[in-house]
């Protein structure tokens, strides 16, 4: 499903060189609900950007469903992101010019496969509890509702992996709990792989795996005594 081999990312040159990721390797199986944790600046978002093909690694390989994504060219990367990956961002990042329904439909329209798109989008919005908000402009709904729309948008193309970058980072505690439960139930229901980057460990108590990023290196688990280096 997802295999990462010797992944490194170095920013800057010469004396200003910063190693954001240092020889990281691990794999994630289909249907796993994985948490990537780490302190601020540890490299966890960099890792997520690499997996999401939003940034290029300095070294190493990333295989998703058997495809070496580090060799793909720009247009192929876009298509790959569109079809195989779903994104949930910290600030939901909905397009304010579109309605809730149109936001959810957008990845499907980009893919150009409109067949049952509207029905699927409505089903997803029902599943996240927003079927009564579909015609509202995206900037007219609350932060929690926007994050639910972002989840629906991330799932519309039935991606292999859903990547969430601090999905509760901008929400209050109650709403965060709701969003986490929603993601878990969607993951179970649709059998999708979820990779979530967060420093909000408390809301994600029951997950399949935890990977800790520390100083650019990856460790299995999040208890220092049990941590196993992933390299």
């Amino acid at each position: 499903m997802l295999e990462i081999h010797n992944l490194s990312k170095i920013y800057g040159e010469g004396e200003n060189k910063v190693k954001a990721l240092d020889n990281v390797s691990f794999s994630i199986e289909h249907g796993e609900f994985v948490l990537i944790v780490g302190s601020s600046g540890s490299g966890k978002s960099t890792l997520l950007n690499m997996i999401g093909l939003l940034d290029h690694p300095t070294n190493g390989k990333i295989f998703i469903d058997g495809t070496d994504t580090t060799t793909l060219l720009d247009d192929k990367i876009s298509s790959f992101r569109n079809k195989k990956l779903g994104f949930i961002f910290q600030f939901s990042n909905l397009l304010s010019d579109l309605s809730v329904l149109e936001n959810v439909l957008l990845p499907r329209q980009i893919a150009g496969t409109n067949g049952s798109a509207e029905k699927d989008a409505r089903d997803l919005l029902r599943a996240v509890g927003l079927d009564d908000q579909i015609d509202k402009r995206a900037n007219k709904i609350s932060g929690g509702q926007a994050q639910r729309v972002a989840i629906a948008r991330g799932l519309i193309n039935k991606p292999s992996i859903v990547l969430a970058d601090e999905p509760t980072g901008n929400l209050d505690s109650v709403t965060s709990e709701t969003i986490v439960q929603l993601m878990k139930s969607m993951a179970r229901k649709l059998n999708h792989t979820f990779i979530i980057v967060t420093h909000d460990r408390q809301h994600f108590s029951d997950v399949d795996r935890v990977i800790t990023i520390k100083d650019g290196r990856a460790f299995e688990g999040d208890q220092p005594s049990e941590m196993e280096v992933l390299a």
Binding site: N82, F89, P107
Partner: protein, 395 residues
């Protein structure tokens, strides 16, 4: 609807200020072209119209070397049997000295153009008689119509005054006649006989000692577009005469050449104005792209290709161009309609000859539409260059 077009539309219509600014830029660019056309082409066409109506007709027939010695009747009848011809009239020109006594003071003027006309035929072929603002047009052998400037130069000649006219005849002898002023001619814009005196053609023939001679024939057509055809037919019909027949474009070319190049220059200035509106579109669209950086990053992240982003912003250029071209053309046509209906003129000068040049109107609209699209290319290209991960960091 195609999602890229819908997004382009929404992004643009949700930024009403930018949309209005960009549309205004296109509208003003088109309006400048329309106003230039109405004023300068209208002025040009008005001058052509007046030269045609007052002096040259649609076709002007002269003799290459001398006076025309064929009878008025034969030439006029020849022309008037052609269905396209409305009327034809003979004219004879000379130069005269004039004097009159006004308030006990003798005033003399020299080198005044003198035109002899046939009062019955001239009113059908020319509109000079309509410029007689006081009194009546030439109606008898001893009546004279003075141009308003000639009347002024003669100390304020009025209808009913007596004027002495001296013409040198073909043998070099002075021929003097006394005329009664029957009217004063004043044309809007001064293209008529404001600097000329008009007498009966037979009187002038007598004075010049040229019985039966004619200087020119002015031919007015019911369909001016047939001028060339009629002219050619005339020349072919009189192969053994030294006739020179010219359409209005040919006979007035000397007077119009400078004006024509002036219009070309003004049009060029108009097109430069349109180019500057394209720069305004570039600026406004750059602002739109900057304002949507985060959204562009999100779209790229969820799978939009660079070409999708390019198309969205080019669609915006097309929307701006289409609305701007539509509004600009509508406003321009409104101005043209107003100018035409009110017979627009400036400072009581000659009324503009306003026409709807549909070819030019469509060409201007299409050019501005194309320019708006071209102007959107650079901002669109810049939008495609944004990296998703960096674009999404923009707040």
């Amino acid at each position: 609807m195609e999602y890229r077009l819908r997004l382009a539309k929404r992004m643009l219509f949700n930024k009403k200020g930018s949309l209005i600014g960009a549309v205004l830029a296109v509208t003003i660019g088109i309006l400048v072209i329309h106003v230039n056309f109405v004023i300068f082409q209208g002025l040009f066409d008005a001058i052509v119209r007046d030269i045609s109506d007052y002096r040259n007709g649609d076709i002007l027939v002269t003799d290459e070397a001398d006076y025309i010695d064929k009878s008025d009747l034969s030439i006029v009848s020849w022309f008037e049997r052609i269905p396209y011809v409305e009327a034809a009239t003979p004219r004879l020109s000379s130069s005269a000295e004039m004097n009159m006594t006004k308030n006990g003071k003798l005033i003399e003027e020299t080198r005044i153009p003198l035109v002899g006309i046939d009062p019955f035929r001239d009113v059908r072929a020319s509109t000079v008689h309509e410029t007689v603002s006081e009194g009546t047009y030439v109606f008898s052998r001893n009546s004279i119509v003075l141009g308003s400037n000639v009347a002024k130069d003669l100390g304020g000649a009025e209808v009913g005054d007596s004027v002495k006219v001296l013409v040198v005849d073909r043998w070099g002898e002075d021929q003097i006649r006394r005329f009664t002023v029957s009217g004063i001619a004043k044309s809007p814009g001064g293209q008529g006989f404001d600097y000329t005196a008009v007498v009966h053609i037979d009187t002038l023939r007598d004075m010049m000692n040229r019985p039966g001679d004619t200087g020119s024939f002015m031919v007015k057509l019911s369909d001016p577009s047939k001028a060339f055809e009629v002219k050619e037919f005339f020349l072919q019909s009189f192969p053994n005469d030294d006739f020179l027949a010219e359409t209005i474009e040919e006979s007035a070319e000397e007077q119009l050449a400078g004006f024509r190049s002036g219009i070309a220059m003004i049009n060029m200035i108009g097109y430069f104005g349109m180019m500057s509106s394209a720069f305004a579109i570039v600026t406004i669209q750059m602002m739109l792209v900057n304002g949507k950086t985060r959204e562009i990053g999100v779209m790229r992240a969820i799978g939009a290709k660079r070409k999708d982003i390019l198309i969205i912003f080019i669609f915006q250029g097309m929307i701006i161009g289409a609305i701007g071209a539509g509004v600009g053309t509508a406003v321009g046509l409104g101005y043209t309609f107003y100018a035409k209906e009110t017979k627009m003129s400036f400072n009581n000068s000659l009324p503009l000859e306003v026409s709807y040049n549909w070819e030019k109107i469509i060409q201007t609209a299409l050019t501005s539409f194309a320019l708006a699209i071209m102007a959107s290319l650079y901002p669109s290209y810049r939008a495609t260059k944004l990296l998703p991960v960096e674009a999404m960091r923009t707040v």
